[in-house]
């Protein structure tokens, strides 16, 4: 039975979308502290302000992350949520589960926590929402011993890497995002659990330029699948699309009556590089002009596929706005192989070249993208040993302010002003 009146929240029980209020009430029948979740949230709805306060440092021994401390600022009214710490549990690549595994985790959380969760957090972890400080070590013991699982990251460390579902169920993935994500996550357990960086650092792995995990918007190192050969064309399927035998865009428009599919308007004219045309009833692509944007492939998945020689473009430095404004990640390596065959050697080498540099010169709470902006892209490229490419920029420099190094200029910088004055009277 409800412990608090929640007239405002109760209004969120109606409507067609699943109601978290109804769900919390259901859970509260078994876990009475959930009534206090509803109570404190109702108070926020009434007062239009949060009632959680700064967390302070809580965690499990030997780890510098994985737990986020949280306390109520009205604990006397809602003692069930006086402590309300979050536990981040590292998710498996692409978030496939068995019911057995999930039930086991839920049982642990019923024993040690509030009964509420997030599936999943923004970075990718399973979020177990709300427990007391004294429950942390026992939960961690059970998680590691009973399930063989582990916490994710938080703080100034490598955050839990995440990936799209990749080759497991997508025909477009240009490398095995799951294996890359899992391997690097295992390789960098120390960096995930023990903060040693200027600030947080994220990897995300997307299998193709559609970038379903938003790697280019959210990760310090975005590994985004691409290819180096030609788009594979099945001309019979092209004809099938032109004959309206297959739905455009993999059926994404089913449910609205659009005009019949028109390959010229919907594919060729929308190609950003204009590198496609029809010739003798066949679709032609000048792949040297293609920027692999995916549009044509998205529209005709039965007819077009990414090239067979897959790998990834590596972009660096994305972040949300705090402090200097949001950044997308910048293309740094146009193409590298990403393969378990050599234990992801190219990728690991590149990541560590960034870390070596950033750990030395990055300021406190400065994301690597901000450090890149502070020193300039040319300096960053030299620091990580990458030759400058026109592919690094949208367009060349629009100002004339070049920083020349002394060794690049004949005769160096040192000059004798007296000698100069002998030739040029003041």
């Amino acid at each position: 039975m409800a412990k608090h009146e929640t007239p405002l929240l109760d209004q969120l029980e109606s409507g067609p979308w699943p109601s978290f209020v109804t769900d919390i009430k259901r859970q509260a029948e078994k876990k009475p502290e959930c009534w206090d979740i509803l109570g404190i949230l109702e108070l926020s709805f009434k007062e239009r302000i949060t009632h959680w306060k700064h967390g302070g440092i809580v965690g499990v021994f030997g780890y510098g992350g994985g737990i986020v401390g949280r306390y109520a600022d009205v604990p006397e009214r809602f003692p069930g949520v006086e402590h309300f710490h979050t536990i981040r549990v590292a998710q498996p690549s692409s978030k496939y589960y068995t019911s057995k595994n999930l039930r086991q985790l839920m049982n642990l959380w019923e024993k040690h926590g509030s009964g509420m969760t997030n599936f999943h957090g923004s970075t990718g972890d399973v979020i177990l929402l709300g427990t007391r400080t004294e429950n942390l070590e026992p939960f961690f013991w059970d998680l590691t011993h009973e399930m063989g699982q582990d916490l994710g990251g938080s703080g100034s460390n490598l955050r839990t890497p995440a990936c799209c579902l990749g080759t497991s169920r997508c025909e477009w993935a240009c490398y095995d995002t799951q294996e890359a994500c899992h391997s690097l996550t295992m390789h960098y357990q120390d960096e995930i659990h023990r903060p040693a960086f200027p600030y947080k650092f994220k990897f995300k792995f997307s299998g193709c330029p559609n970038d379903c995990v938003a790697a280019i918007a959210r990760s310090d190192v975005a590994v985004i699948g691409t290819w180096k050969d030609d788009i594979r064309i099945d001309q019979a399927a092209v004809k099938g699309y032109m004959a309206n035998e297959f739905p455009a865009n993999g059926g994404a428009f089913i449910g609205r009556e659009w005009d019949a599919f028109d390959i010229q308007k919907e594919v060729i004219d929308l190609c950003p590089t204009n590198c496609m045309w029809m010739e003798d009833g066949e679709l032609k692509i000048d792949d040297a002009e293609c920027t692999r944007c995916m549009h044509c492939i998205n529209v005709m998945p039965r007819a077009l596929r990414p090239g067979a020689q897959g790998g990834a473009s590596i972009c660096v430095g994305a972040k949300a706005p705090i402090l200097d404004g949001a950044q997308f990640a910048t293309l740094i390596l146009p193409f590298i192989p990403v393969t378990k065959d050599n234990d992801f050697e190219e990728l690991i080498e590149f990541i560590e070249s960034i870390w070596d540099w950033w750990m030395e010169i990055g300021k406190n709470r400065e994301r690597v993208g901000e450090t890149m902006q502070r020193v300039g892209l040319p300096t960053f490229l030299r620091a990580v040993g990458v030759e400058a490419l026109p592919q690094h920029v949208k367009y060349p420099r629009e100002n004339p302010y070049v920083f020349w190094n002394e060794e690049e200029v004949e005769g160096g910088f040192e000059r004798d002003v007296q000698e100069f004055r002998a030739r040029h009277a003041a």
């Binding site: 969120l12 978290f20 769900d23 709805f45 039930r103 970075t123 059970d142 280019i216 993999g250 949001a326």
Partner: protein, 379 residues
């Protein structure tokens, strides 16, 4: 046996990492990984992938509140056990996916889901609105300027038909972040719902030296608006900070660094709407979301102003955009001045950038369209 607080290091396991993904694969996934040829959405929320082996996997996508209970997860497990040999997965946008290996298994699964009330809406595929990526809000976070789950529920109730259908010109990605820290890619969403503060921090002089390092508080401000100061507390002069409110842009980073500088406020806080961002590299490069409505109030429990604003934008987009055109592509094609006109959103100077890279957004051409905004110039 279990955790022994007297001997915390005894038998401790650490750095195990996540479980290997492969053990969780449904059989059809395990057998066909890397062999998929093409896919098709059969109806909103139902996908089919075809393998070169001839195998097919049918996926049913189901919405979720993300903030879910143990009981809800167990119910998901029940469904997975009943239809999918105990397998399921979650998507990046917090949907749940149930996979079956034959077409005839789809309808029983859909029927089961439908029988469970509004808990498992099927949709979120193709040219529609999928689940709103969001943050914690008042349910769990200490820095929010609005709630998360409540706003999402209110918006998704109103946009529900766009979740269960595919009638938009392209997919529309909506995201919510309850403060400027933006946990989640709100900065690159078709429609972004962003909690914003509008009052500068208060300084709790009685506690500041106890809870934070003053130099960190001072250096936390990207605009140098936090300055060293002195105050008298209990008759004693102490070192503290002050805020130059003229330079404050309410980012809240000082509060993140220093608990003695709270800035949340019932009247000051609310929601800004940004639109036109995207992440995909398809056709055009990724784009940032643009601020088009600087503030709407936190009218609980259903944020009617926010819901109406989003619905209005979505409907104008649905009516005006070309097939395949993302919201930002549409706004750029017609011109942002037309966007404000057709969406009937009042333009304010808050939508004119005055931060670090602002100059790049100034209109340095004579190319513009006359709109309602320029009527006073042309009459």
């Amino acid at each position: 046996m279990g955790y022994n607080p007297d001997k915390p290091m005894d038998g401790r396991l650490s750095d195990l990492g996540p479980p290997h993904y492969e053990q969780f694969f449904p059989q059809v996934i395990r057998e066909n990984k890397g062999k998929w040829l093409w896919h098709e959405i059969l109806q909103a929320g139902v996908l089919m992938h075809k393998s070169e082996t001839g195998a097919e996997v049918y996926t049913v996508r189901v919405g979720s509140a993300r903030l879910i209970s143990i009981e809800h997860v167990r119910e998901l497990c029940d469904i997975a056990d009943a239809h999918c040999d105990g397998h399921l997965r979650f998507t990046t946008r917090n949907n749940v996916e149930f996979m079956v290996d034959a077409k005839e298994k789809v309808q029983p699964l859909l029927d089961d889901l439908a029988s469970r009330g509004n808990k498992f809406p099927v949709g979120g595929t193709g040219a529609g609105v999928t689940n709103i990526v969001h943050t914690q809000g008042w349910a769990h976070c200490h820095t929010p300027a609005t709630d998360a789950s409540g706003v999402v529920k209110a918006v998704m109730d109103e946009l529900f038909e766009y979740f269960t259908s595919q009638v938009l010109p392209a997919q529309c990605r909506i995201a919510l972040a309850c403060c400027l820290n933006m946990c989640g890619a709100v900065h690159a969403s078709d429609i972004a719902i962003l909690g914003v503060h509008r009052k500068p921090p208060m300084i709790d002089h009685t506690r500041i030296s106890g809870v934070c390092e003053l130099p960190l508080a001072i250096s936390s401000c990207p605009l140098g608006a936090v300055k060293p100061a002195k105050a008298v507390v209990n008759g004693k002069e102490i070192k503290t900070v002050k805020v130059n409110v003229e330079r404050c842009m309410f980012c809240g980073n000082c509060y993140t660094m220093c608990p003695a500088m709270p800035l949340a406020d019932p009247d000051g806080d609310g929601i800004a709407i940004l639109v036109g961002g995207k992440v995909s590299n398809s056709r055009q490069a990724p784009k940032f979301s643009k601020l088009v409505i600087p503030f709407l109030p936190n009218n609980t429990p259903r944020w009617p102003e926010v819901v109406n604003a989003i619905k209005g934008i979505l409907e104008a987009y649905a009516a005006g955009a070309n097939k395949y055109e993302r919201l930002g592509e549409w706004a750029e094609r017609i011109g942002w001045e037309k966007f404000f006109e057709v969406c009937e959103i009042p333009f304010t100077d808050k939508s004119i950038d005055d931060y670090r890279l602002a100059y790049d957004s100034w209109r340095t051409t004579t190319q513009f369209k006359y709109t309602s905004h320029t009527a006073s110039y042309t009459k």
